[in-house]
């Protein structure tokens, strides 16, 4: 009996290290499904970043390179310029992409580098134990904002999709979520589109996935998904911020 749903081939069959209720696993799977569907695992190089997903090189079946914190888009650029026919993607968290890596992110985007960036935004630094991130919400309590993020001291969160949408080199900037079956299906479509745009040479593609961190938010998986809907999505509205394909 054929399976209607099974593990994608591009996802290595090993247990993952993520916390219970963490949505990393879902998004890894969506990327792997896309590689299977597009039949491109053999010519794909993934760039692992630094954060909870630092071990992502263990889970994707394509060739992988581990990048320093924040530098994945630059490492991806080096690979893509060496093998333009390869499919190159990065998988980054909010600190990696929007704190230490902001310059690399913005410049890969404005160069229209034909890479796909999967951006996991959970408004916190997971791997190092729950510190404030550039996308932490005003008032949100974290280890380094124990009284809640005070915008007078720590400023405002960055809305990455909105910011990058002003750059001409960006072919797709879309924000999705992984909090429900409906949104996961949407996220899959966005990720698939991003990779297709890369293969068509349209430019830089980024999919921002609003995600939960039950462990560092101090909630159960069920409650964290609800918190995400109630608090993060109003600040980071889901939707398409730039789509060169739709403009044509």
């Amino acid at each position: 009996m054929p399976a209607r749903f099974e593990r994608p081939k591009a996802l290595v069959d090993v247990p993952m290290h993520y916390c219970p209720g963490c949505t990393h696993g879902i998004i890894h799977r969506l990327v792997a499904e896309t590689l299977d569907e597009l039949g491109c695992e053999g010519r794909t190089v993934g760039i692992a970043s630094v954060g909870c997903s630092v071990f992502s090189y263990k889970y994707f079946g394509c060739d992988m390179i581990q990048a320093p914190h924040g530098r994945a888009p630059a490492v991806a650029t080096g690979v893509k310029r060496s093998f333009p026919g390869d499919v190159v993607f990065t998988y980054q968290g909010d600190g990696d992409l929007a704190a230490i890596g902001t310059a690399e992110t913005v410049h890969a985007a404005t160069r229209g580098e034909n890479i796909t960036v999967i951006f996991i935004n959970n408004a916190i630094y997971g791997m190092t134990g729950g510190q404030m991130a550039p996308t932490t919400l005003p008032g949100q309590i974290t280890q380094t904002s124990p009284y809640g993020r005070d915008v007078r001291e720590a400023g405002y969160p960055i809305r990455v999709c909105e910011m990058l949408s002003t750059l001409d080199g960006v072919a797709l900037a879309q924000r999705v979520s992984a909090d429900s079956v409906k949104e996961v299906r949407n996220a899959k479509k966005a990720i698939r589109k991003a990779f297709e745009y890369q293969i068509a040479g349209r430019g830089f593609t980024l999919v921002e996935v609003v995600s939960a961190c039950p462990t560092n938010w101090g909630m159960s998986p069920r409650d964290s998904l609800q918190w995400l809907r109630d608090n993060m999505i109003p600040y980071y509205p889901l939707g398409v911020y730039k789509d060169k394909g739709a403009e044509e």
Binding site: A3, R7, P15, H24, G25, I26, P221
Partner: protein, 53 residues
């Protein structure tokens, strides 16, 4: 997360069992109620579910 996602609410955490990581694994409590919609599999972060139509 499969427990939350299942529209038929037929997945439960099996309190009588414990897996290698120290958690109660999910179990399909009522196989006859399963429509094969795949919602559970879609929401499983560990890709632990295979859905056979």
């Amino acid at each position: 997360m499969c427990v939350i996602a299942c529209p038929r609410k037929i997945i439960v955490l099996d309190k009588s069992a414990m897996n290698g990581k120290g958690y109660h694994p999910a179990r399909l409590a009522d196989p006859s109620g399963c429509t094969g919609c795949g919602s559970c599999a879609l929401m499983c972060p560990d890709v632990a579910i295979t859905v056979i139509a």
